[in-house]
């Protein structure tokens, strides 16, 4: 490599920042003004950054006594009308689950970052994993809706953090940002535009006659308007199943009506929620489905495979839950085989199998803390392509 040509003027807006740093900046740009958390590797840099940045914009940073208190404080802040964030890793994410269910059930907008490290339990604090894919969707008890976003680069963490707040506000739901240790602590050169004049989404606030207000009576879009604190609307919020008036009920019709609305409310917003990336899928005989660092490896694997004559393509869900299943079905229809590399014992592959019912889905699973390499994915894609071809010509 030659010395860098200094005649190439450096672009002033290019910065070298980590994924966790990008998350903190994205949260600020989205209008987040409250953070409560408890430090845990490999997510602590988010708290560290926000402890300096939030006070500069008259925001509040609180280091709480534990992870349960952190999510509780975030829910309280959001009920108080502020965009709020907490960040953690596996063990802390487990602790937060009950209150994530509360936020889902009581429809309190909030954003939870979970940086995935080795598990179970305290696992491998400094090593990457992708073992919380199912927990992010199903970690709290009962049936509930949730949005989970899975960025794969520093730049995307910035963008998806902003989108997480927008979706949380629009859909009155907790949104989980899920990424692995590699992406979290990776520093990459990114160009961040000026977002200071970007109009960000705010939740729908109650308006109209106070006497008629029902805190859980939804509009056409399935989302009830929230009362701004101090606005004089009568509000009751509970984790118990509730009727439109917000008060607890076990009346079967009222529960079926209100819980039914809750469980289908995201369906009406799928255009805004769903997000995915496809690379070289048009002629792909082997389709790779991956997220995070495994998707970064797969991106390079595509070139290696194609150089060997194997037409490989990548489908990368950026929104992980609800899974963009229609898009995956369309892309996979043309492929002979599907390969799912992931840093766990088999989670994403289960969902891909479910969606593509009947199609052969091969999992490529690793849980020892070592990322799967591009060469390994390319080799597996090649053997899959050969096996599929042999089966067809037999």
């Amino acid at each position: 490599m030659n010395a860098v040509d200094t005649a190439l003027a450096p672009k002033p807006a290019v910065r070298l920042i980590s994924g966790n740093h990008a998350c903190a900046l994205g949260a600020l740009a989205a209008g987040c003004r409250f953070f409560a958390g408890y430090p845990i590797t490999p997510s602590s840099e988010i708290a560290e950054r926000l402890s300096r940045l939030l006070p500069e914009v008259d925001g509040v940073f609180v280091q709480m006594e534990d992870e349960i208190a952190s999510i509780a404080a975030v829910i309280g802040a959001s009920m108080g009308g502020v965009k709020a964030l907490t960040a953690t890793s596996g063990p802390g994410f487990s602790l937060k689950q009950e209150n994530i269910g509360y936020a889902a059930g009581a429809e309190i907008p909030c954003v939870i970052v979970n940086v995935m490290r080795g598990g179970p339990s305290t696992g491998m604090p400094t090593r990457p994993a992708q073992g919380d894919i199912m927990q992010a969707r199903w970690g709290s008890h009962g049936d509930y809706p949730i949005v989970v976003l899975a960025p794969a680069s520093v730049r995307e963490i910035y963008d998806e953090t902003m989108r997480a707040f927008d979706l949380a506000e629009t859909c009155r739901t907790p949104v989980v940002l899920l990424y692995d240790q590699v992406i979290a602590q990776l520093a990459e050169t990114v160009e961040l535009g000026d977002t200071s004049d970007l109009a960000r989404t705010e939740r729908k606030w109650a308006s109209g006659p106070r006497a008629a207000y029902q805190p859980y009576a939804a509009d056409e879009d399935g989302i009830p308007a929230m009362s701004r604190p101090g606005a004089g609307y009568r509000v009751h919020t509970t984790g118990l199943n509730h009727a439109e008036n917000g008060f607890p009920t076990q009346n079967p019709e009222a529960v079926a009506r209100n819980l039914g609305r809750l469980l289908t409310k995201l369906d009406r917003h799928r255009d805004a929620i769903d997000s995915w990336q496809t690379i070289n899928c048009d002629d792909a005989e082997v389709l790779i489905v991956a997220i995070g660092i495994s998707a970064r490896a797969a991106t390079r694997a595509l070139d290696i495979a194609r150089a060997r004559g194997v037409r490989a393509g990548l489908f990368r869900p950026i929104t992980l839950w609800p899974f963009p299943e229609t898009a995956l079905r369309e892309v996979a229809a043309r492929a002979r085989a599907v390969l799912v590399p992931e840093m766990n014992a088999g989670q994403l592959s289960l969902e891909v199998e479910r969606i593509l019912g009947g199609k052969r889905v091969e999992g490529m699973h690793r849980f020892n803390g070592e990322p799967i390499t591009p060469a390994e994915i390319a080799a597996r894609a090649e053997s899959l392509a050969k096996a599929a071809l042999a089966k067809e010509t037999r």
Partner: protein, 189 residues
């Protein structure tokens, strides 16, 4: 694949400041318009244990941000040999500390044994061995402007360490420049 990808690893043990010096190099390269991905591997201890920081440098966007084939390897402890050796590209260049990493395995690589940590100790603190290594690497690899690297070192150094770090960087450059004229070893030791 024909791309401009260049990979560098700085390996050693936790507490040697490997991630910091890799960040300084990454900052200097980023300032010059390169696309850089800087990753880190460390143990859950504040000191000790295997640690490295890798740089993947490209003219375009970096697809896979982790090391797959190292062009340059800096070794500040023998602990870093085992995980790094299989990643060396044929003909890769290794800079190893004479004191902390005296023996190297066989392999198709060129190696410079340099007194990085001893130089740091002579300057007043072994803690700046990372910056000596950074200077030596920059001189040998010629990957960025010296001025840009100095600027990055200044930006990331507390005032009380600034003179020492700048001396360490200069000493590293001298070691690297001397090594260019000296023949590198192509076998073990």
């Amino acid at each position: 694949m024909r791309d401009s990808r260049v990979e560098i690893r700085i390996g050693g043990t936790g507490g040697q400041g490997l991630i910091l010096c890799a960040k300084m190099l990454a900052d200097a390269l980023a300032a010059a318009g390169k696309h850089v991905a800087q990753s880190q591997t460390y143990e859950p201890t504040s000191r000790g244990g295997y640690c490295n920081s890798d740089l993947v440098i490209s003219d375009g966007e970096v697809d896979f941000p982790l090391a797959t084939a190292l062009d340059w390897l800096v070794l500040l402890d023998r602990l870093a040999i085992r995980p790094s050796w299989p990643l060396l590209k044929p003909g890769a260049l290794v800079i190893a500390d004479t004191r902390l990493c005296p023996d190297l395995p066989e392999g198709d690589r060129r190696a410079h044994h340099l007194p990085l940590s001893r130089t740091a100790i002579e300057l007043g603190s072994e803690r700046v061995a990372n910056i000596v290594a950074l200077g030596a690497l920059a001189a040998l690899a010629e990957i960025c402007e010296r001025r840009a690297l100095e600027q990055a070192v200044r930006a990331d150094t507390p005032r009380s360490f600034l003179d020492l770090n700048l001396d360490a960087l200069a000493a590293g450059y001298r070691l690297g420049e001397q090594a260019i004229t000296a023949p590198s070893s192509t076998s073990a030791g």
